[in-house]
């Protein structure tokens, strides 16, 4: 599989994880399980720098290909 497809798929998977974690987090909030809410929120927040990292690697890979 070409590396540019891999990076694209990785970012799409991160977005999917974001949506899933956000829903789980809100459900836990309404069930009053507040520790679970905070943990899922932190996971959600951690996905953002991960997305930036993958984007930067994608840029580097594209420059190398040129």
């Amino acid at each position: 599989m070409k590396s540019k497809h891999v990076y694209f798929a990785a970012l799409c998977i991160i977005l999917l994880l974001n949506v899933i974690l956000t829903q789980k987090m809100v459900h836990q909030f309404y069930f009053e399980h507040y520790t679970n809410t905070i943990m899922l929120g932190l996971l959600n927040i951690v996905l953002f720098p991960l997305a930036i990292l993958i984007y930067k690697r994608d840029r580097k890979a594209e420059v190398k290909d040129e």
Binding site: F29, T35, L47
Partner: protein, 174 residues
Amino acid sequence: MTDKNNKIPFDEDNYTHNINRTNERKLDRRGFMKTLVGAAGVFALSSLPWGAVAAKELSGLWEKEYPHKKITDVNAIAIGDAVDFTFPGEHDNAILIRLTEHKYVAYQNACTHLRCPVFWEKEEQQMLCPCHHGKFDVATGNPTAGPPRRPLPAIEVKVEKGAVFAVKVKRYEV
């Protein structure tokens, strides 16, 4: 400077206006990847208020004792009947149901599915939400039918001096 105004097209010298974007996509691969990263950022930002309120609830700073509110007199409500009231705030609708002569249950009225008011059907003796036919068990508040997944928050009530008082909203049992 103004000699090129209102003359379409004017003679170009190709030092400027030499980028021809007529057939290019407005959103290319790089732009799309940036959008995906930005969306991840928006989700991360959106989880901050939920985490903040959850932390506040955990720390217990928000536990507030509300004054016990009189709902109704014991004589005014028949067995198997229900009374609407609001507790703790004016916009928190609630319902009190008299099951037997001495047994009262009270719940916050907003259906845990999409917050439609839950009604007490006297003939069938059941709690029903009309929006999506969600039903709740009157003894515990647990959902027994329909889309709701969470039980109705129970309100602790006490009977004193011939009247029924609302004491506090109970947290979900762990």
